[in-house]
């Protein structure tokens, strides 16, 4: 059984031989390839009369991308969690008789933010400049994957926050204090979701 490399090679050879795309599609369907496989294989080559066939750009994977994006998203994750913790403990202190534990949590959270916030800011601005300078970097598969993982985590957090709010409402625990803490979670998770959803749209081909 032929693999996808052979399919790609066949499509290239057929285009070089001057076969039309409908003819190539017909031959491949007859051989048992699915429409999506054929579409993907033909889509790898630009629709232009130029010969030899011109390849479309493909996604790239590099160790450098992994390092930069894993660091950026790791810092974002840790920073966002601690931002929520600090803000929620501050809300608790407004409503409750605060304790030594609350002070310790703020102290640790602020320490994390002092390290992660400038690092995230620097990494993100640096990457934005690089992307503006060389749009080919938008084709980084690692960037895409990690961005979608960040979107998934942000969406899951928003859903969890909504579920917790409804549950608190039903159990009668929905106080002003709870509402303020739920709003903090939704603002942080929602902001991250919107930020990266917009970033992905900017990187998509027209």
């Amino acid at each position: 059984m032929a693999n996808r490399d052979e399919l790609s090679l066949f499509v290239r050879d057929a285009l070089v031989a001057g076969k039309s795309r409908p003819d190539i599609t017909g031959a491949l369907i007859e051989a048992g390839w699915s429409e999506s496989e054929i579409r993907e294989a033909l889509g790898a080559w630009a629709e232009t009369p130029f010969t030899p066939p011109v390849p479309r750009p493909v996604q790239t994977v590099s160790a450098r991308d992994f390092f930069i994006y894993a660091l950026t998203f790791g810092v974002l994750l840790i920073g966002a969690i601690n931002l929520v913790i600090v803000l929620q403990v501050l809300v608790d202190m407004l409503f409750e008789d605060d304790s030594y534990v609350a002070i310790e949590r703020i102290r640790f959270g602020v320490s994390v933010l002092i390290v992660t916030a400038p690092l995230y800011l620097w990494l993100t601005l640096r990457e934005r400049r690089k992307l503006a300078h060389d749009p080919a970097l938008y084709r980084s598969a690692i960037r895409k994957w990690l961005t979608y993982i960040a979107l998934l985590l942000a969406a899951a957090t928003l859903l969890g926050d909504l579920i917790a709010t409804i549950y608190a409402l039903l159990t009668g625990d929905f106080t002003l204090q709870f509402m303020a803490k739920a709003v903090i979670v939704s603002l942080v998770a929602g902001g991250i979701f919107l930020f990266y959803a917009n970033a992905m749209r900017q990187g998509e081909p027209e």
Partner: protein, 138 residues
């Protein structure tokens, strides 16, 4: 849109760091908070040794120098852990006594970080006290 979100996030983080630092205070304040906590912990351990639950025939000592070990309890620190001055001990009656310590931070402000804060009695200045009753034999 993203620029606004980014600026908004920076402002929220700056707010969290600023307010957080303002609430917890600086390193010197943190050291004083820990010293005051240690003072109150020491007061409590010392009060337990003086009250010595389980030995109702034991009488309250007249002063801390005369305090004898209490079986099953650690020997308490009788002096302030920082200044090394003895804690203030006052016998209030045959079965009641008071132990006091001088805190570094105004106790009204420090109450949020102190242990046993509901048992502490605020005196003038930075002084806090623990009052205990001792079970006595009939």
């Amino acid at each position: 849109m993203n620029r606004l979100l980014f600026i908004g996030f920076c402002l929220v983080v700056a707010f969290a760091i600023g307010v957080g630092l303002w609430v917890v205070g600086g390193p010197e304040y943190a050291r004083m908070v820990d010293q005051d906590r240690q003072r109150v912990f020491d007061l409590d351990v010392l009060a337990d040794q003086i009250a010595c639950v389980g030995q109702p025939k034991r009488v309250l000592p007249d002063n801390l120098e005369e305090l004898e070990p209490c079986f099953g309890r650690p020997d308490a620190n009788r002096n302030d852990p920082v200044t090394n001055m003895p804690f203030r001990y006052t016998v209030l009656g045959p079965d009641a006594f008071e132990l006091c310590a001088e805190l570094a931070i105004d106790p009204k402000a420090a109450r949020r970080t102190l242990p046993y804060k509901n048992d502490l009695i605020l005196r003038s200045g930075n002084t806090v006290c623990l009052v205990r009753r001792k079970a006595v034999a009939d």
